[in-house]
């Protein structure tokens, strides 16, 4: 082979190789890394629409790389739904019970040693647990629904970097959790306009009045400095668009058939706010949390996977 033919062949081969790797090669290479049903989960946020809550959840987790990415064998998982109100599931003031059941089961299947579910409810806790359907769903899935009705369960913690909420009494389940999965339901709220993932964490502390008394939006953002959930899943299937957060009848609801999953609590709140029908900049705690670098409220900067089923 003379020098000229070597260069020519080399050029052709390298061109072919480049062509291959940039076109045909990319698909099988990546496909080889993936399991048949799961993506790598490199997304900052996965949004699914058009299905039933559990179906949307399954699809979203598939895109996120499966629950195994978040729950490892032997870990203690705490799921925090919204169970604040003594209303039936069709009123959507609490997180969808079937969705909670599916998440509990997933965590156990992924090898979680125990899965706990609780909320510091507003209405009578036993009635909330029961009438929301969540108690039954958790039990059926093999998880444990635990009480949050007494102050003794809450222990004082310091929140470094907080502006107003420097200490809070937090439920012991949160203190002991290896994995925290936050599963709010997207709702209207009289004073914060929307309540999603960040506001849902008000249900893991004892003294909510302190928050209300000391700049509610700032306190909501501050608490994220203590413990950001490992995963946030927003139930936006039935969305309470007025008279929130408790609602007065099913007339307050809009069927949006959506579900969001993200590890970024600010991003998921921002996206949910858009689904609710207003701008994230209008929501005090989302804006503050973004300023405090708790998460990203600018969705343009995120890698979002959008799925319609």
């Amino acid at each position: 082979m003379d020098r000229r033919s070597f260069i020519r062949k080399g050029f052709i081969y390298s061109a072919l190789a480049g062509l291959y790797s940039s076109t045909i090669g990319r698909i099988p290479l990546l496909a080889g890394q993936r399991s048949a049903t799961q993506s790598t989960g490199n997304y900052d946020l996965v949004a699914v629409r058009g299905g039933e809550p559990v179906a949307m959840y399954r699809r979203a987790m598939q895109e996120m790389g499966g629950i195994q990415r978040f729950v490892r064998r032997g870990q203690r998982v705490v799921i925090k739904p919204n169970i604040g109100w003594d209303v039936p599931p069709e009123r959507a003031a609490n997180t969808n019970p079937d969705l909670i059941g599916a998440i509990v089961k997933d965590c156990l299947d992924a090898g979680a040693s125990r899965v706990f579910v609780f909320d510091n409810t507003c209405d009578n806790w036993q009635r909330c647990y029961q009438n929301s359907g969540i108690e039954e769903a958790v039990r059926a899935a093999g998880g444990q629904i635990v009480p949050g009705n007494l102050e003794r369960y809450y222990h004082e913690v310091e929140i470094p970097g907080a502006r107003r909420l420097k200490t809070a009494k937090v439920h012991e389940q949160i203190l002991e959790a290896d994995v925290l999965i936050n599963v709010p339901v997207l709702k209207h709220h009289g004073s914060t306009t929307v309540t999603v993932a960040m506001k849902n964490l008000m249900g893991v502390v004892w003294d909510r009045r302190y928050w209300h008394r000391n700049d509610l939006h700032q306190c909501i953002a501050d608490f994220c400095l203590y413990r950001k959930p490992d995963l946030n899943i927003v139930d936006a299937y039935l969305v309470l668009t007025q008279n929130g957060p408790r609602g007065t009848s099913t007339a307050d609801l809009a069927l949006r058939k959506s579900l969001l999953v993200s590890t970024d609590i600010v991003a998921i709140d921002a996206a949910s706010t858009l689904i609710f029908g207003t701008q994230p900049e209008n929501i005090g705690h989302i804006k503050i949390a973004s300023e405090m670098n708790i998460g990203q409220m600018n969705l343009d900067r995120l890698n979002i996977k959008r799925v319609a089923i």
Partner: protein, 525 residues
């Protein structure tokens, strides 16, 4: 049947009834037993009579006729079996027995001199009731006192043990026992309950059923009937050896073995005498067969009735005293306190301040049953008339919108039974917003805790200087107090519920066509 077994049967029946009522007062939910306990409530004499009139001659208030019938047939079996305070006294006597000197353990016949006191008290109680005050009933009725004692002492003890068990099991990740919120009763209520408990306890240890035969208005009422009872405990002259065993066990101290006299108006039909007698010297018989000797020894016919009528007049003298005092106490004046209702908020189903105070005997069954612990005993909030009657305290908690627990348990009809749908429309008070002390206007930050908790959205948020400020739509408000409870301002709440003296109907929440179909066509991001 051998009459000696009667005592065993009495003990079994009284303990069963006592435990069933106690379960009810401890607030234990038991689907099977609660209807039974409910029936037993209907048999409580004074609550039943009150219920009969409170609910306009309702059939469910006829339990007292059954009790009167039983008394006419067998004597005051009510006092030894149905009345929980009676059984509680028996338990106290039994528990104290080992600690007493042997010679102090026996009872002796105490003559029949206590009639004036008990009939005076009965007379005064009835007269006060006619004049619209249950003061004496609240203070003296045995069922009501049993309730006060249960809720003040037994329930806290039960909750303490229950929670100890719950916390122990939680260590092993067993969550089947629900921890209960501790009910903190006001100190004065505890003191009154303790005083009643101690007084009755000491009386019973000292002289058996002394309380029942000197003070208890229910006992006095039944003793009027017991005079004429059909089956009576009677001495059998041929078999009696005058050994005196029967007298020593007679806790009503109504039996004289020497003179063979039995004061049936005081006998509580405990049947201890039958078991004590080793010789069949006593028998239970229809009055006509009373041997001549015994008949001659019985007290003059119904002195009780005469004394009763006499003392009714005596009791009347005390009326003006109490009535004036109650008027002076009465309703406090509105507008003198920064916030807080002028008169106490009565439970849903109580119809009105008047209906409630006229019929509640402060047994605290509702206090014990309330899952939100919002119903608490008052002291003089209702004046002397409504001494100790319960009220809704929105600083402690609020009334759960869908809960009707208190309306289901009330034995006297002071709180009438409501379905959840009916209850959701009852306006027991109206929220008043005090803008000048609200977080939003003072600190200029969003809050909305009141509106958040409002089940009807009578309290809703409106735009105000870039923030959201609460506003009240009064006709939607049911007065549940969720807003007042949730309000974080101190020391006075910026929103509070002003009690309705007569409960009104709130505007119902509009019927819904279900959710709007607004499925997303695309994501808005």
């Amino acid at each position: 049947m051998n009459l000696r077994h009667l005592k065993k049967i009495r003990i079994a029946v009284s303990l069963a009834i006592f435990i069933l009522l106690l379960i009810f007062f401890l607030g234990i939910e038991s689907g099977v037993l609660n209807p039974v306990s409910n029936f037993l409530l209907r048999l409580q004499l004074i609550p039943s009579i009150l219920r009969f009139f409170a609910l306009f001659f309702t059939v469910s208030g006829l339990g007292f006729l059954l009790v009167l019938g039983l008394t006419f047939l067998f004597g005051r079996v009510y006092c030894s079996s149905i009345c929980p305070m009676g059984t509680l006294q028996d338990i106290i006597i039994a528990l104290a027995r080992p600690f007493r000197k042997k010679r102090n353990r026996k009872f002796t016949y105490s003559g029949s001199q206590k009639n004036i006191l008990r009939y005076s008290i009965l007379g005064a109680t009835i007269l006060l009731w006619f004049f619209g005050s249950l003061f004496l009933v609240n203070l003296l009725d045995p069922y009501s006192n049993f309730g006060k004692i249960s809720v003040s002492f037994f329930q806290p003890a039960f909750i303490f043990l229950n929670n100890k068990l719950a916390f122990f099991l939680e260590r092993f990740h067993i969550y089947s026992v629900a921890p209960l919120g501790v009910k903190t009763l006001p100190l004065y209520v505890m003191l009154v309950s303790a005083t009643i408990f101690l007084t009755i306890g000491i009386m019973s240890v000292w002289r058996g059923r002394l309380f029942c035969n000197t003070i208890c208005p229910a006992g006095a009422m039944l003793s009027l009937v017991a005079h004429k009872q059909y089956y009576k405990i009677t001495f059998n002259d041929s078999a009696c050896t005058l050994c005196g065993k029967c007298e020593r066990v007679c806790k009503a101290e109504c039996l004289s073995s020497r003179t063979k006299v039995i004061d049936h108006s005081r006998c509580v039909s405990c049947f201890n005498c039958f078991t004590a007698c080793s010789n069949d010297g006593l028998y239970y018989s229809h009055q006509k067969t009373i041997p001549a000797v015994a008949a001659a020894n019985t007290p003059a016919p119904s002195p009780g009735k005469r004394q009763f009528l006499l003392t009714m007049a005596g009791g009347a003298l005390s009326i003006p005293l109490l009535k004036n005092a109650s008027l002076a106490q009465g309703h406090s004046k509105p507008g003198l306190v920064p916030t807080g209702t002028a008169s106490p908020v009565t439970p849903p189903g109580a119809i009105s301040y008047e209906h409630f105070t006229n019929n509640c005997i402060a047994c605290y069954l509702c206090v014990g049953a309330c899952p939100k612990n919002v119903i608490v005993p008052s002291f003089f909030d209702y004046g002397l008339n409504g001494f100790m009657q319960p009220k809704l305290d929105y600083h402690k908690s609020f009334c759960n919108f869908d809960c009707v627990k208190c309306t289901e348990v009330c034995p006297t009809g002071a709180i009438t039974k409501q379905t959840p749908e009916e209850k959701q429309k009852i306006q027991i008070g109206v929220a008043r917003f005090m803008q000048e002390s609200c977080i939003v206007t003072i600190d200029r930050t969003d809050c909305g805790a009141c509106s958040e908790h409002c089940p009807t959205k009578a309290v809703h948020m409106v735009e105000w200087e870039g923030l959201r400020l609460p506003e009240v739509t009064p006709d939607l408000c049911v007065g549940c107090g969720a807003c007042e409870y949730a309000c974080p301002t101190e020391p006075y709440k910026a929103i509070y519920v002003e009690s309705n003296l007569v409960h009104l109907e709130a505007r119902p929440i509009e019927e819904s066509d279900g959710p709007q179909q607004q499925v997303l066509d695309d994501f808005p991001f």
